[in-house]
């Protein structure tokens, strides 16, 4: 196996595009090294992208935040203002693993690892984040919900790298939240995850929403129907019941050791209601 640590995206793309064997991008490595260790993958080339400035920076852009794909969870938490503007995204990223994992793990890696249960992904989707992808054909911006296709399958072409994410400018009276269910309090993989971002008008009625569910399908879902019901005219308890039903209707989970299909579907509805209530509260306070 070769290890390369280029300083530019062009070099990184060229290395990945030219390699005929299995090539992998290395960001934090907290999934990649485990997969190498357990012989799930056996790459002939690792391209470490942490030497590339864009992947390691957070900066304010277009009223929002440009976050490098290789910024760690710990760095996200420490960056001033990010956690107060997009608390759902920062909290979701910080749910991944232990303190030690937070020191290395990245949102770029969390997305490109291609797990339907990735915690930061539904939060990014709910927030309307876009991935900036660089490859042999140049740069393109893609909604985060369109990056992952199925377990371990991404919509990236050979040689393409997720370089950074853009969290958009947050409209007034907007709040986001992410909740996941695990059978203990720490250090586990989501049975279900739910990210919600919603915007209120001056009277407190929801005018726009995005709802995303993780671990209930082959990839994290953006659930348009769940978002639509939140903008209805009914009283909040009615809206939340409709949200619960819409979230459940979107699920197409599998049975596995972490939960059955029926259980995941039920939990998806409950988490959607709870996440929406937190997002409402944050929108009112923002």
């Amino acid at each position: 196996m070769r290890y390369e640590a280029p300083n530019t995206l062009d070099q990184a793309v060229a290395l990945l595009a030219a390699e005929l064997g299995e090539a992998r991008v290395l960001a934090g490595g907290t999934d990649l090294l485990v997969q190498m260790r357990t012989d799930v993958i056996d790459p002939v080339l690792l391209v470490d992208i942490k030497g590339i400035a864009e992947t390691r920076q957070i900066r304010e852009e277009a009223g929002g935040f440009r976050i490098g794909a290789a910024v760690t969870g710990a760095e996200l938490k420490e960056y001033p203002r990010l956690g107060s503007v997009w608390p759902g995204v920062v909290e979701a990223a910080n749910l991944i693993g232990s303190t030690q994992i937070q020191g290395r793990a990245t949102m770029g890696g969390n997305l490109c690892n291609g797990s339907p249960a990735a915690d930061s992904v539904p939060a990014l989707i709910a927030a309307g984040a876009r991935a900036s992808i660089v490859g042999p054909q140049g740069r393109r911006d893609v909604a985060v919900e369109d990056v992952m296709l199925a377990p371990r399958k991404l919509s990236l072409a050979k040689g393409e790298i997720v370089a950074s994410f853009l969290l958009p400018a947050k409209p007034p009276r907007t709040g986001d939240a992410y909740l996941r269910f695990i059978p203990r309090t720490e250090m586990d993989i989501a049975v279900v995850g739910c990210g919600i971002c919603l915007t209120l008008d001056a009277r407190g009625a929801c005018t726009a929403a995005r709802v995303s569910l993780g671990a209930v399908a082959e990839r994290p879902l953006l659930v348009a129907e769940a978002a639509r019901v939140l903008t209805g005219n009914e009283a909040l308890p009615v809206l939340l019941q409709k949200l619960d039903a819409a979230a459940r209707a979107a699920c197409r989970p599998i049975d596995d050791k972490r939960g059955t299909k029926d259980y995941r579907i039920k939990v998806a509805g409950v988490l959607a209601r709870r996440a929406a209530q937190i997002a409402y509260q944050r929108a009112r306070e923002s």
């Binding site: 290890y3 640590a5 090294l33 260790r37 470490d48 030690q100 994992i101 020191g103 290395r104 250090m187």
Partner: protein, 158 residues
């Protein structure tokens, strides 16, 4: 494939080592540098026995490649005591009998030191969450948590 020649700083001392691209930082510390205080537990980032700091950040040495350590400053358990004088955390672990078999202890000490550098007066909950990535199959954790809180109090001069 040629080995990589890496220069880094370990416990304040400049070091150089050769490593294969696939060698972890844990392999390098233990096998190339002879620093066997950092333990190998699970090798998958779950147990925290290999906890070290890299540029002040707590990480699992098994989840980082040796080549990624180029130019960094690494802190291991060997850098914790000041000569013969134990770090307050080490003393408190002994006083509280916060270890039995001892395999997890270096990782707990390195992780706890990293916590107290950021948070000199942590709550018990903070200690438990910070150390959630360090597994101990002997003690049941209570004595470890008490030792950390007691060390924190002593270090604050309380």
């Amino acid at each position: 494939m040629a080995k990589h020649h890496i220069a880094a700083v370990v416990n304040g001392d400049p070091v150089e080592f050769l490593c294969e691209p696939g060698d972890t930082l844990l392999d390098v510390l233990r096998d190339a540098l002879g620093l066997t205080g950092t333990k190998e537990g699970c090798s998958t980032g779950d147990c925290g026995a290999c906890s070290v700091t890299v540029d002040g950040r707590l990480v699992c040495a098994c989840l980082m490649l040796g080549v990624e350590a180029a130019g960094t400053s690494i802190g291991t358990i060997e850098g914790m005591a000041n000569g013969e004088e134990l770090h307050p955390l080490q003393r408190k672990f002994l006083e509280h009998a916060a270890l039995q078999c001892g395999i997890c202890t270096p990782g707990f000490l390195v992780a706890a030191k990293s916590l107290l550098e950021r948070s000199p007066d942590p709550t018990e909950t903070e200690v438990r969450y910070w150390l959630a990535g360090n597994l101990c199959r002997c003690t049941g954790y209570d004595k470890i948590v008490r030792a950390v809180l007691d060390a924190a109090a002593e270090m604050r001069g309380a």
